[in-house]
């Protein structure tokens, strides 16, 4: 069915799934995450697992991130990444 010509064209709004959340991260002496805080207090990092780096879109707005898969106190497993362009830290759910 062809939509009426006068009907306003509007795409359904997309909401990113697993959008990064800003966090504050304290580093230990080796430069690895030691404490993660989204609000007051925060949680200690118990284990740092895999670490990897992503560089992408160098041809327009370069993206450079270093990812850390960590286990927080209490057992929650999350992914942190440092934006190597801005220096900000972000938190995501593991894939």
């Amino acid at each position: 069915m062809v939509p009426p010509a006068r009907a306003p064209l509007r795409a359904d709004p997309l909401r990113a799934l697993n959008a990064p959340q800003p966090v504050r991260v304290e580093l230990d002496g080796r430069g690895l995450p030691a404490r993660v805080a989204r609000a007051a207090g925060g949680k200690r990092v118990e284990t740092v697992g895999e670490i990897w780096r992503v560089d992408d879109e160098w041809w327009r707005a370069p993206i450079a991130r270093r990812y850390y898969e960590v286990v927080l106190e209490g057992g929650a497993r999350v992914v942190l990444f440092e934006d190597l362009v801005t220096g900000a830290w972000w938190l995501q759910r593991p894939a």
Binding site: L14, L17, N18
Partner: protein, 405 residues
Amino acid sequence: MSLLSSETAACCWIPLFALRCEAARRPELVSRPAALLAPEAAGRLWQVSPLAHRAGVRPGMTVGQAIGLCPSLQLCEPDPIHYEAEFARLLAMLGAVSPAVEPAELGRAYVGTDGLEGLYGSPQRIVAEIRRRIAHPALRLGWGRGKFVSWVAASRAAPGGAVVVSPGEERAFLAAQPIAVLPLDPATYRRLRRLGVTTLGGLAALPEEAVAAQFGRLGRRLWRLAAGAVVEPVVGRPAPEPIVAALRFFAPVADRAALGQALDRLADRALRDPRRTGWRVRVVRAEADLEHGGSWAVTATLKEPSAERARLTAPLRTRLEYAPPAGAVERLAVAFTAFAPGTTALQLFARDAQAAARAGRRRALREAAREIRLRLRRPLLFRVVEVQPWSRLPERRYALIPFAP
């Protein structure tokens, strides 16, 4: 008993209200036999003027039959919006006399008069006050205990006159009245006549149980009304503030499919009205102004109040199909005129879960999702879609879009 309830009642009745509204606009109808076409049964008569009645024309006849009996009959297209607007004006005037006003049908309303003695005095003075405010020559007034007694009194009053049934005299007054004043269907009326019952006194003289055995619950109610054993109070209802959405077409539209789509659009728009939030619609109404004058209106009361467009417009679409407007439509409006409190989302799902068992989960889910969207005016159900599943950036792989099953 609520504050808006009253045992004593004044019945205000203007017979042939719609036809009189028409005659007020077209004075030539007064001196000629005239009839109004039925709004919902094309080709049949609704109201018939006394001159036409004298010529043998009756309500419910086809136009062909009526013209056969009375070739000079003036036929009028109905304009229900106009009649209801006039009736609303009448109710507003009655509302200035008493806070308890209960409309019964077009042209007939009850006014609760409990406590008005302090303001106006005796029942005769209360009735005189009503007449002073509604100076219509055809207005008949009746006063008595309960709606039925006041209605019978009004039906006995001459045009412009009033009948007051004093407390304690109800039984004697009712006994002499014909059974036609009872709320009867034609078959029951004929049956009672065949049994030799012609007056309320005759009916009340029969044993109540015998009447109930013959006519069931209706019979028991009729007996109690006839015997003056029941007093039905006037119950004034707070007038709901209607929500109306209307559109005027660029050019008059007669195509039913286009009108149906317009009804859907208008219902959607009315559902989005912020005043509707938290309420489900109980009574929905469609009104149309027609190209060459006249109007068309349908009102539907939903068994199950709803906030879903399809349920609200289904009865309107049915009427559009079977009793369409008599001409092309210039302006169309959808109005919600009565409401019921909304349910919580949890109850909503519970109800739709039952529907799922009956009609399939997908359909029930679709209805529940639409109702949530309409009620909360923002989507709360989402579907996960792949955007760039190959991306190395997790937030770019998947996204949520509003769920529309």
